[in-house]
Amino acid sequence: MIIVFLKVINNKDRFFINNKIEKQIIGILLDVDWFKLLYYIYLEIIVGDKMEDEKKLSEFQRRINSGEVIEPKDWMPERYRKQLIRMMGQHAHSEYVGMLPEANWITRAPSLRRKLILLAKVQDEAGHGLYLYSATETLGVDRKDLLEQLLEGKAKYSSIFNYPTLSWADMGVIGWLVDGAAIVNQTVLAKSSYGPYSRAMVRICKEENFHKKQGYEIVATLAKGTPEQKKMVQDSVNRFWWPALMMFGPHDKESPNSAELMRWKVKLKSNDELRQRFVDLTVPQARAVGLTLPDPELKYNKERRSWDFGEINWDEFYNVIKGNGPMNKERIKARKEAHENGAWVREAAEAYAAKHKINRKI
């Protein structure tokens, strides 16, 4: 009996009892006095809690709908917390892994001024990573665990960073297109419902705007440079245009988390809307410096007052996400090596800190 009872009440995920057989069993069992007692206690505690949760949930949704900001100490549904940890973690990893393709050119930058700007940019990205890891920690996870997931290949990061940087022009085009796409995404995320995330986005977006400006300046300089430089920058645009469009994720109808995230105002615009905004912003910028975007279907649509564009190669998109992109293995390898080679350093710092506490006590 007890076992049947426990089985019934353990089925927490099903609200109340919605299974016919279970109802019958309960009906029979309710004739047994002690079971009745236990059952009512169950109603009081578990179902009562559930109803309490329902109330909290609707109150939570009301707060979201009226545009209130959710702070770490506020009640939030477990799904909301999980989704945020996933999104913010991915974002933090993207900043961290995203250092690698650009760091690849710091030592070869063609002038001291460009070297300083690039170094400062990559350093900013490290700062964004750190800031976002800390913001994610407000949801009750540890940076250590997040990093572990990254190194084990369990956590995602933006697929764009799995493409190689093959010329100096990539330093311009990444700033222009990749930081540019990030800005379109993040300007909206800055209004997201979770306080620490939206504040992080406001702060980070300011710097991403700098990066975009500096990137576009490199692009413009090369575009009016020698024939070799022009070729270099056009080639880079050809390689990065489509991967940049992929940064906005799958079509809305293919995006499994979108509806829920939008209901909670973690996301405020759909992937396709944001992608369109990015295309509309970028096409005139490309034209202004005489660069061609590698899409024969790109055409201004007067009715929509927007640019029509061709279909993304989704096979490529899903393959890169699955780990088969040109640089996935190298990126994770680089992160792993840094982590492993740094283990003794982190241990030394911990040991030193521990010793010092002991010394101070003495």
Binding site: T107, L116, L119, R346, E347
Partner: protein, 257 residues
Amino acid sequence: MKLDNNVKNALFEFLLRMGDDRLILGHRLSEWCGHAPVIEEDIALGNIALDLIGQASAFLNFAAGVEGKGRTEDDLAYFRNETEFKNLQLVEQPNVDFAHTIVRQYFFDVYSNLVLTNLTSCPVNELAGMASKSLKESKYHLRHSKQWLLRLGDGTDLSNEKTQNAVNNLWRFTKEIFDIDETEKLLIEKGIVPEMSGFREKWLDSINKTFMEAKLKLPEDNLDFSAGSRNGFHTEHLGHLLAEMQILARSYPGAKW
């Protein structure tokens, strides 16, 4: 300040040394970007690299001005060959691991603080100004490298071993830091560079104190070869570093970036 030609030449040489030290060390540190033991160190090492390359840019810009041949700081950085570089051998040594990087940095930072402090009272205003701006940054660099040296030396047995090993490997590159040649003698004589005697003692004194605290041993002082990097004599590492640094600028002569 109006300078004679030979003093000008000496000042140009001296500025190259200051600039090249910082450019090459900054380059080495920038190699860490994205590969540091913790993300905080990606930021810190990147920051120090930025400071140093920024300082290099200022010193080389001034050097080009003193030379007066219409060259720019970029011409000096990108279009000189190995034997024309005047940086210390110490700063061109490869990163190897975090211990080598920190020991190299600490040796340089102590020296750099001494020189920059000295130069703040230089009668050439531009140089004095550059020195005092750089000194502020250099003090922070020294704090960083010293704090790490203590942690690595007095951390675990493994970290102590690795750090002692780095000290032993890099020690032989430290003597030439304090060699004073004709160029510097002339500048000291003319009162442009303040007296530098006693620098090695002061430097050793700081190193000794920190090593004691960090449980590191000073290697035997058997410096048996003369280096001479200030006159363009380097280890083989510099050539590879420059090949990487200069490839793009030299592949497209005349291009603007």
